[in-house]
């Protein structure tokens, strides 16, 4: 069934429902009007690149996934797991997890949701270029009966539930066979028009009823949604991408839209002061930091020099003044709530100490380095780089700074084109080990370890510790190991951490967004409540 057909069927059902409601209302005209259709007009800075939720691993796609699909489990605000399509799970042995699935759930197409769909979806995820790497640990999925699956991993794997938040079961029957061009319906195409990039059938709270890429996407509430306990009362969602910061804020302030994200730091006060809007901010999980390239600059091989840099940079100052309080100063990768977070690690800022360390290392007169940063990727990225360059000047380090748009920047980053390079990172697995694996592990082209390690920091002991943590199923023990990694990275000043970028959303007062927001930045819009405007 095509998207349009689904839509027509839904419209028909709705009309039927509406006339029934209308008929009963005529009889009981005194009953309060509760069935009013609420519409949420929302504006994000970009729209999802495709309707195929396996095409790209990005924030936009995950936001879409939570609207049109349901995950097996999902994160709560306090980073615990909440059952969704999986109702129960137990570790059968070190490498096997048995999951019970929710019964009586239907896809948008009307097909029943069963264990086959879970197995099918995970198999597809293992073929997706973007998701393949993070689903690598899964060996196979066994269908025990219609509502039970067993997930087998190659080795004991402690993050299986984290992975389960990425499994949004797709309608295997709907995506079977070939489309009108003769291409398989389940094919994942990065550059081209595939069936799955145009048609959706999930179990989620919303169906896509209209989509003009880059202009608007319209969602309608799934009348057969299984979650009857959800307080959500939004029947229609119109998503418009507004990339221009000032326009997005203006659209909210003028009442043209009800919900925007992200709110640019420069406009936080404007939104806060407006009587008709509310602002929600929270500390995010994306760390912004600098790599110090030990291969290009001999001085960076000296731990004292790296420490001196850490002492020279005023993270609090950047977060306070440059970011207007819209960032949380960092001294490690892991934000609060992650297993590896070490409470005691505080930013060290002491210019005198930095000078001493430079002198001890024999660089009292400083040296020249090059630095690169993007200028349209992270909040205030270019300004932050300028501030860091100015701070380093105080310990006699002369910085030649170059900033560029992200489209050009990543090529330079891959080439390790400067001595210090800025990067921001969010752990796809919401787990501390991910930071080290990609950013500070000894670079290894074959395994992909240290793919973004532009500092060439290498400590094999830490790599071994992470490898051990990744097969440690005991969560407490594992957290201890990850904390030890963070502590060592801090002691050896492996990187120059700056801050975790905060998140901000804003909405009109009658849209109660606070309960559905989370640090991963995928609002659970199915549970969103709009207060009656009357």
């Amino acid at each position: 069934m095509t998207l349009n057909a689904v839509a027509t069927k839904k419209t028909f059902k709705k009309t039927l429902l509406a006339s029934l409601v209308g008929a009963s209302m005529a009889g009981a005209a005194l009953l309060p009007m509760t069935a009013s259709a609420e519409t949420l007009r929302m504006a994000y800075d970009a729209d999802p690149v495709s309707l195929d939720i396996h095409e790209q691993l990005s924030g936009g796609i995950l936001q879409l996934s939570h609207m049109t699909h349901d995950p097996l489990v999902r994160w709560t605000k306090s980073l615990d797991f909440e059952p969704r399509l999986a109702t129960e799970w137990e570790q059968v042995d070190d490498t096997t997890m048995r999951m019970s699935l929710r019964e009586g759930v239907e896809f948008h197409s009307g097909n029943p949701f069963t264990a086959n769909d879970v197995a099918w979806t995970i198999k597809r995820l293992k073929q997706s270029p973007d998701f393949r790497a993070i689903f690598e640990p899964i060996e196979s999925v066994e269908v025990i009966d219609d509502y039970t699956v067993e997930i087998n991993t190659k080795e004991p794997y402690p993050l299986l539930l984290n992975l389960a938040t990425y499994v949004f079961p797709m309608d295997s029957e709907f995506y079977s066979g070939n489309d009108e061009d003769g291409d398989p319906k389940d094919e994942i195409v990065k550059n081209g028009n595939s069936y799955a990039s145009r048609n959706v059938s999930g179990t989620g709270p919303y169906t896509v009823t209209d989509r003009q890429q880059g202009v608007r996407t319209q969602f309608t509430r799934n009348p057969n949604y299984w979650d009857n306990e959800s307080p959500g009362n939004v029947d229609n969602i119109i998503l418009t991408p507004i990339s221009e910061n000032a326009t997005r804020v203006a659209a909210l302030l003028s009442g043209d839209v009800d919900f925007i994200a992200p709110v640019p730091p420069n406009d936080l006060d404007r939104v806060r002061e407006s009587d008709d809007t509310q602002l929600v901010t929270m500390s995010g999980t994306r760390i912004i930091f600098f790599h110090m390239n030990q291969e290009r600059v001999e001085a960076f091989q000296d731990q004292r020099v790296r420490e001196a840099f850490a002492y020279a940079v005023n993270q609090e100052g950047i977060a306070d003044r440059l970011m207007k309080g819209f960032a949380t100063p960092a001294a490690q990768f892991s934000p609060e709530g992650y297993a590896g977070h070490v409470e005691s690690l505080e930013p060290r800022y002491d210019v005198e100490r930095a000078k001493e360390l430079m002198a001890e290392a024999g660089y009292a007169d400083g040296f020249d380095i090059t630095m690169m940063a993007p200028n349209n990727r992270y909040v205030n990225d270019a300004k932050i780089a300028q501030a860091v360059a100015a701070m380093l000047a105080r310990i006699n380090v002369t910085v030649d700074l170059k900033t560029m748009p992200k489209a050009q920047y990543w090529g330079e980053f891959d080439d390790r084109a400067a001595d210090m390079m800025m990067i921001g990172w969010h752990a796809d697995t919401e787990d501390s080990a991910n930071f080290h694996e990609y950013l500070t592990a000894c670079p290894d082209a074959d395994s992909g370890a240290g793919q973004y390690n532009a500092g060439n920091f290498c400590n094999p002991e830490l790599d071994a510790l992470i490898a051990a943590a990744n097969v440690e199923v005991d969560r407490e023990q594992r957290a201890e190991m990850l904390q030890q990694v963070e502590q060592t990275l801090y002691d050896q000043a492996a990187i120059l951490p700056l801050h975790w970028q905060d998140l901000a959303w804003a909405s009109s007062n009658r849209v109660n967004i606070e309960p559905v927001l989370n640090v991963m930045n995928f609002p659970y819009l199915g549970d969103l409540v709009i207060e009656d405007s009357e």
Partner: protein, 348 residues
């Protein structure tokens, strides 16, 4: 005439060829499209495979040859972002831009001709001085700022209370300088489909309300320019011998102004105007960004942001084509208005 058109056709082909070469030459500096297409944790070998699949690893000459052969058959490739033929993507965004340009052109014509003529006929009038100073301001404020100001004043509304609110006159003055807002701040609303991919905002009052602010912003740069141009030309014509002669013959001033003088004033204005409409298409990039108007300009900026090279190349070529076409039309109209012009392009 036919020879002229044929010549222009070759001209157009040459322009497109040069643009395509330039676009291809700079594409290495536009960034890596793969970076935009995959997530951050995708390993290098996956990226390499995708790069190979898209043919990005071939030498530039091979890529250009492949592009040129396809382009000759009107196949300009697939947009990386939209996953559709670039020509389709542009065709879908074109109506929005054309409507915006048409609306501002309408504003420009409706306001510039009367104001320009008036200020030429009455060069010392108070109203003329007012128009002239306003037009200076209009030229100097960037389109971007005009747009933001319009949004603040007419979409969000401003409440300004410099006067005491507890007095009657203070309240009245406060209300006088405050605005309600309420105009749409972004996008096209729900345009009505005319046929195919052509959605129009002209079909309903509500649709038109979405056009007003962007059209004013876009017109704000050209309007003052045209007022000044028409005024200057008109002043010059009014000094010419044939106007003096007509006056001496006792022809009514009205007839002189609006028939004899205006016709000759419009000749250079048409030439400049035609070229400026081409420029207007280019100016829409800023206006469309601020108003999130889903036209070609916004699409182009997006394409640059995401290194969507096929779309960038096609856009540039089509804009080049628009310039050639508007220039050709201008020359044709010019020939109609002034028959002494020879369209063969040879020196007359």
């Amino acid at each position: 005439m036919i020879a002229f058109l044929v010549k222009r056709l070759f001209h157009a082909l040459l322009v497109m060829f040069v643009i395509s070469i330039i676009a291809f030459a700079i594409q290495d500096n536009l960034g890596d499209p793969i970076q935009q297409m995959v997530g951050q944790s995708v390993p290098e070998d996956e990226r390499e495979a995708l790069r190979e699949e898209l043919g990005l690893n071939d030498p530039m000459l091979v890529q250009y040859a492949r592009f040129a052969v396809n382009a000759a058959q009107f196949d300009f490739g697939y947009s990386y972002v939209f996953n559709q033929p670039t020509t389709e993507v542009i065709a879908r965004h074109l109506p929005a831009t054309l409507e915006l340009v048409a609306a501002s052109t309408f504003l420009i014509i409706v306001f510039s001709v009367p104001i320009g003529v008036y200020s030429a006929i009455k060069p010392r009038a108070l109203l003329t001085r007012f128009f002239m100073s306003i037009s200076i301001v209009g030229i100097s404020i960037p389109v971007f700022l005009t747009a933001i100001m319009l949004i603040q004043i007419f979409a969000i509304g401003i409440s300004w209370t410099p006067f005491p609110a507890n007095t009657g006159w203070g309240n009245w003055l406060n209300e006088l300088i405050s605005t309600e807002g309420g105009m749409p701040a972004y996008g096209r609303g729900d345009p009505v489909t005319v046929f195919g991919t052509w959605d129009t905002n002209f079909a309903s009052f509500k649709g038109l309300s979405y056009l007003v602010l962007p059209a004013i912003s876009l017109a704000s740069i050209m309007l003052p320019l045209f007022i000044r141009l028409i005024r200057a030309e008109m002043l010059e014509v009014l000094q010419s011998d044939y106007v003096k002669f007509a006056r001496a013959k006792g022809i009514s001033m009205r007839r002189i102004y609006f028939l004899h003088a205006l016709k000759n004033t419009m000749l250079p204005v048409i030439t400049v105007g035609g070229v400026q409409i081409g420029t207007l298409v280019a100016y829409t990039i800023l206006t469309e960004t601020v108003f999130q108007w889903p036209g070609m300009g916004l699409m182009f900026l997006d394409a640059i942001e995401r290194s969507d090279i096929p779309l960038i190349v096609t856009y540039l070529m089509i804009v080049g084509l628009i310039f050639v076409i508007t220039n050709t039309i201008v020359d044709l109209i010019y020939g109609l208005v002034n028959p002494t012009v020879k369209l063969t392009g040879k020196p007359s």
